[in-house]
Amino acid sequence: MSGKTPDAAGISRAKTAGLKNVDILVGIPSFNNARTIGHVVRAVEAGLTKYFPGRRAVLVNSDGGSSDGTTDVVRDASLDLDSILLDHRKGAFRKLVIPYHGIPGKGSAFRTVFEIARELEAKACAVVDADLRSITPEWVELLIKPVLEESYDYVAPYYMRHKYDGTITNTIVYPLTRALYGKRIRQPIGGDFGFSGRLASFYLGKDVWASDVARFGIDIWMTTTAVANGFKLCQAFLGAKIHDAKDPAADLSAMLHQVVGSVFDLMEDYADIWRTIRDSEPVATFGFVYSVGLEPIPVNLEKMIEKFQMGVRELAPFYRSFLPDDILAFLTDLAAQSDRGAFAYPDSAWVRTIIHFVLACHRKLASREHILKSLTPLYLGKVASFVIETWESPAEEVERRLEGLCRSFESEKDYLIERWNGQA
């Protein structure tokens, strides 16, 4: 499946006729983003004009069959360069609108971007989400320049987020990925990335385009593939990330299943690599870090604790098939805790919980979907405990608190490896 599909390759060749050896390619995957994509296209064009004036650049909109006129918005989006004090330049910037083929999903859209990057022999590439409201021309500079001028292969985003924004990233994906692969990439599933043409070709060579990576999980797959295969990587501070609300009906357990399942799957693929890594190290960070005023996030603590209690009560017999007795006893006690102020899910217990979920999937102790979805109440319990603990804390203190969680994951890595290898 690593080769091109005839359709995708045919379209890219026809559309890219006359283009070759471009310096920069920016991809925007889209599906019904007519409301926001115009702003994203203009920001990208301004960024390319302002920061890369002498470079040959292409913007690729890889669309999944939008019915709301997204592609028309992309074609019609034009930038008044005078208003942002930039000089006009002709012929250096091209827009391509290309429908992607294959399994519907962000991964398939990215695959088309990678194919065009290879076709055009692009030196540096970036992908940005089509629903962004906070993207500025500087994002393009920050995602592209480390590749073009500093020879980095992969640039992960680093956003300023509210302390209760991105709780799956904060409590599971970031600490686990960091402990496994030894690199402190703060937003491994950020969604906006920079990468080299070499890495785009490497991605294309992987046999994943018929799997879940094509549908979802492309973000963590790109990050993990770059880290595990030794590509040179860094992160870029992009400020706040504000984007259109995702589907409000999106189910949390489905989200956990997709994201955490992708991390667990990658653990199988790269077991030989992560088992040899100990501790973690920071990665180079570009951009001027500053604080951002962030909108407060309403949190319904009572609802989260209720769901945790019900989950432990109802799912205890299922948990018993893969969680050790001490963790199960702890969960039962915590679920019986009536004093909300004393509700605490310590890092040590949380790390052990996640490790045993990893092992349950690795050993195929039950249906993978059942295991992953049954994590939902426990995750809500951990988030509730985190909220109670950090209610009064400023962002810096919360970040220090998360650093503690990451260290707990790192210190328990031997426990995971022993059991993964079947020694315990």
């Binding site: 357990s253 309403p298 019900m310 109802e314």
Partner: protein, 234 residues
């Protein structure tokens, strides 16, 4: 007098002995075949238990809930021992049938023929029950997890209901396959299933009016955000 005695007692006895003498080799062969079958069945049982242990299937049965279910049904044996015992009786039964057919008794031959024709039905019924069992467990657990995650207060009963209905389906299909009370079972099932659906419809319709109204109000009214939770998890 002697002639009468010979005709009434001696001659029938002689005939019986002659018949017994004629049947004895067949009987002996049958007994030998059955005895050999018992020995073979015992060996098969040992082999099956050993294979199950090597493949660590006992742990798999424990994880899938089979062991627990057996314990609930007061079966003290482990699944490995139980399967071994089933194989023992299967082999023993096959050799018993073989031994009977070696004896060539017409009535037994007829019975055996009917039994052999019926055996596939038993096999299919057992397969249906096994599939029903696994499907019931799987979907019951899926329902439990989904309803717990949705915050449903009736997650447990809902899950048990799904499992129960699937098991009921499996039993009805198995009984139908075996031809046991075919029309009675199907009619009973249809009446019961229809009754359950009607009861649920009435319960939801009458008891859930207020709940439905509250739900719709919460869902479509802009205000009323007491329950709001805007956490962005990713």
């Amino acid at each position: 007098m002697k002639a009468i005695f010979d005709r009434v007692f001696i001659q029938p006895l002689r005939e019986v002995f002659q018949k017994l003498a004629g049947f004895a080799p067949s009987l002996l062969t049958g007994i030998v075949v059955f005895a050999a079958g018992l020995v073979l069945a015992w060996l098969v049982k040992l082999l099956v238990v050993r294979i199950i242990r090597i493949l660590k299937l006992d742990a798999a049965f424990a994880r899938s809930g089979v062991t627990e279910a057996l314990q609930k049904m007061a079966v003290k044996d482990t699944p490995a021992k139980l399967i071994g015992r089933m194989f023992f009786w299967l082999v023993a039964f096959i050799f018993f049938v073989l031994a009977l057919s070696v004896m060539r008794v017409p009535v037994i031959d007829q019975l055996l023929e009917r039994l052999l024709l019926y055996l596939p039905n038993i096999f299919v019924a057992l397969v249906v029950l096994a599939i029903g069992w696994f499907l019931g467990n799987f979907l019951g657990r899926a329902t439990l997890i989904a309803s717990v995650n949705a915050g449903s207060k009736i997650a447990g009963p809902l899950s048990k209901g799904v499992k129960g209905v699937i098991l009921l389906f499996a039993f009805v299909m198995a009984f139908e396959q075996l031809g046991i009370g075919r029309s009675t079972v199907i009619a009973a099932f249809a009446i019961m299933f229809g009754g359950v659906v009607l009861a649920l419809a009435l319960a939801f319709g009458l008891g859930g009016r207020d709940l439905a109204r509250t739900f719709l109000e919460k869902r479509f009214k802009k205000n009323g955000d007491a329950d709001r939770d805007d956490l962005k998890h990713l």
